[in-house]
Structures are given as C-alpha cells and as structure tokens.
Symmetry: C2
Subunit: 233 residues, 2 copies
DNA sequence: TGACATTTTAAGTAGCTACATATTACCGTT
DNA sequence: AACGGTAATATGTAGCTACTTAAAATGTCA
C-alpha cells in the first residue's frame, strides 16, 4: 500500500479540473497558490506544478509569475490535429498509393505566395503541381512552392519518383508551421484532375513552413469531395 | 555567471531536435538513453526527461518504457487549433455580435446523431438551430443536438437570449471532444440563412463532446463563404 | 522449439531543495 | 496625483534521490 497513497499529478490535475468546472471557480477566477493546493492535497508542489502545466496546455487555465493561476476567462476548445504524409494516410486506409507529378517549374514567387511567408521582396522558388492517388483514383491535388534559397537540394530530387510532400517532411524539419483550412468550389481544372464535378465543395488545407525564420515551402492541398479531417485523440 | 552554465530543458530539447533533423538520427532510429544524454550534456536526467516529453508531445519522437526513445517512424505535422466561443470570435474582430434562435424542439435523436456519439439505442435530445451574427450579418449557422439525459438543465435555459454554444461551454465541461472538418455546398435553406448563394462552398465544423463517456452535445457549425480556420501558434 | 515465467532495463513519477524570474504591490518622492 | 524605485511573491526551472512500471530480453521447462 505504498503506491496508492501517493497522488499522481494526473489525479491532482483531474481534481482541479473538476473543481473548476463544478463551478467552484468560474472563468477569470483566481485559484489558490500551488503551494497551498499542495498542502491541502498533501502532495509536493512539483506535483501541483505539473498538473497545472497540463491544464495550462489544454487552455483551461492561465498562469503568470506572481500573478498566480486563474481560470481562462475565455474558454476555448483546443484540439490537436495530426496531418500525416499523404502516402501513409492512403496506405493506412488499406489502399494502394500512387503519385503523379503534373508540372514543375522554377520561377519567381507571386504576390500571394510571398504573402503566405510574410515576405515582400521577390524570391526564386520551385513550383510543383502533383496528384496523389489512392487505388489509382485521384485523392489529393497539391500546388506547392519551395523556396530555393532555403532548400536548394530540391533541384536534385527526382520529383517524378519522390513526392515533394514526403521528401520535404523527411528531409526538411521546420521550426514553424502555419495551417489554414477553408472550402472552395472546384473549378474546371480541379474537377478534371480530381475526378469531381465542377462546383463541388472541396476542403482545402494550406500549410506553410519555416526553419528559423527562413521560408521552406507553402502548399495548397486540395482534397476530393467528401474528404474529412478529424482530430487525433 | 551562475545561471548561464545551467542548461535549460529547452536548450536540451533544441539540441536533440537539431541532432535528429540534421540527419544524425532518422525516422525509426533509436536515441541514446536519457541518462546517457544527460551525462553527455552534463545535466540532470530530469532535464532530459522534460525535453524529451516536449518532443514527444509535438510528435517528433516516441518513447516507451524499456523500449527507449526513437524518432517517430512516420513523421506527422501536428497542429493545435483553438476554437473560441463564437461571440468572442466575432468580438475579437471588432464586430458587434448578434444571435438568433431559429428553432428548438425536443425529439428522439436520429440515426446520424446517435452515430456521432457511438450510440445505438434511442436517446431523447433537444435540437437547437441558431444563427450567429456579426454586425447584423449572418456569420455562422449552428445545428445542435443536446442530450437531455446528460444535460437536463438545458430545458431551463432561455435559448432566445443565451446561445447554447456559450451556455454549454461555460457550464458543461467535457472530458472528450471530437472534431471533424469538411466542405459542403450550400443548399437552398443554408444559403438563405447565411446570405450566401446556393452552391457556395462552405466549411463545416462538426463537434461532439462527452463527459466521462456520457454524450453532451453534437453540433454542426456551418460557416459563411470564405471562412478560414487558422492554427493558433 | 514453443510457451511461459523471470529478470532486467529504460522511461515515468513523486518528493525535496535551491534558486531564477516576472510581475505585482508598495512606498516614498516630487 | 503621477512617477519611479524597491520589496514581496507566485510561478518556473534545475538538480538530486528514490521508487514504480511497462515491456523487452532472457532463461526455463515441457
């Protein structure tokens, strides 16, 4: 009976979580100091600290030095999304993955691409258009721009064989990643590529990555009709 | 010069991150034991542990007791989304928030709603349809089902005044939340409500919440044309 | 050789201490 | 009352020790 009377930080976390949401503490309210909670629950401050850190991570509370801990005044639903390499996504569904390079061309980045990277001066980039297939049927269309200053090696990659998606994820770690989701209507070109009807509603995922402030790539991933993005846990 | 020669866990994390992605360790490779890394970097194991925990959180590595630490074999892009209460979202943009209840009715949950909750037997629910406004213009349409067994108090809430969205987030904490994003074409009814054109592509956010296994609510949030969802950090 | 029990190992957790750091709170001066 | 410097304080971080636990590795026996 030694282990049972030690409180785990998860227990402490759930205890506090429960107290908060039973109405004992409402949005904006200040919670007792870590040390006091530790006393009260008869555990170490470090245990409370870990519990609080977790609650802070999920957006339930806000912590500030000296300011103390308070319940987040504007509760948010915080969710985590995992976006795998497209090949893995297809294979996990039990389908056969295929890939087609549509076009690649070196050119100066247009205004919209520069904007995605928060840049103003012109940059030389490689534009790559490709189609991902699932059991020989169109699955995703990608329209990608890769910064040649940051990733010159992309020129030596045979993009007929290796998808830029996979090559970049495996070879180019990033320190910042912005994502953006929205819906568009398929235009004629897209619908042909994706085997959809013109006007179909499509989910679009836009992703831009940087390494230490330097732009790596920005990509518009256009999904097929009916595609759904789910949270992981 | 006392503080500078203590390594912070963030430094350790970045060091390992860097090693991994300079190619020193590739996907699936096993990393040294925490204790060895601690020795090598001349810091405490607990510092390495914290660094590793963080890398594990962002999906870069996988850790298993006895199995050790290895680089995630299938790298994923992990992103965090914050979905605020709609009123806060509108007000943060500097617009005036408005809300209209369209309809509410108690009824047995249809098959699709039961499916969202992974239930099979019929359940009595309150269906709520409402419109969120931004500066008097349609902003979001919500189609919600609230489980009356789990949240009987919803009957006493005046939904003409309080949006179910806000009331639930403030009063009904959840232990599980599933999200789903996809695109649909606006049908006649939606386009009328949202002031869009029939056939417009709309982003739809579906959210279901539970408290300790008991269903709370499931809601389809239909956004206006052009709506974009962004990652937080 | 294969199934099962045992040992070993590496991460996970809890507690303690000491110190760092960001703010808030306070107080004195102008 | 406004300003500015100082003290007080709650969280954040690092290090150490000790113990727990999941799971891989090994050994044992049929």
């Amino acid at each position: 009976m030694k282990s049972t009377n030690r409180l785990s930080w998860k227990y402490v976390r759930d205890e506090i979580h429960h107290e908060i949401l039973s109405g004992r503490y409402g949005p904006g309210d200040r919670l007792p100091r870590d040390a006091d909670i530790a006393d009260q629950l008869n555990c170490a401050r470090s245990t409370v600290q870990r519990a609080m850190q977790d609650l802070s991570d999920i957006g339930l509370i806000e912590r500030r030095r000296k300011g103390g801990t308070r319940v987040h005044p504007e509760p948010v639903t915080r969710a985590t999304l995992d976006i795998p390499i497209t090949r893995h996504e297809v294979e996990k569904k039990g389908a056969r993955y295929g890939y087609q390079l549509i076009r690649q061309k070196e050119m100066s980045a247009p205004r919209t691409v520069l904007a995605a990277f928060e840049l103003t001066s012109p940059v030389s980039m490689l534009r790559i258009e490709a189609l991902h297939l699932s059991d020989n049927r169109p699955y995703m269309l990608e329209d990608r721009w890769v910064c040649l200053d940051t990733v010159p090696e992309i020129r030596d990659v045979d993009l007929e064989i290796h998808s830029a998606n996979e090559w970049l994820v495996l070879n180019r770690p990033y320190t910042r990643c912005d994502l953006r989701f929205y819906a568009i209507s398929a235009d004629q070109k897209m619908s042909e590529m994706l085997g959809a009807k013109t006007g179909d509603a499509l989910l679009l995922i836009e992703r831009s990555t940087w390494i230490d402030g330097a732009p790596i790539t920005t990509v518009k991933t256009i999904t097929t009709p009916g595609y759904q993005l789910l949270t992981s846990s």
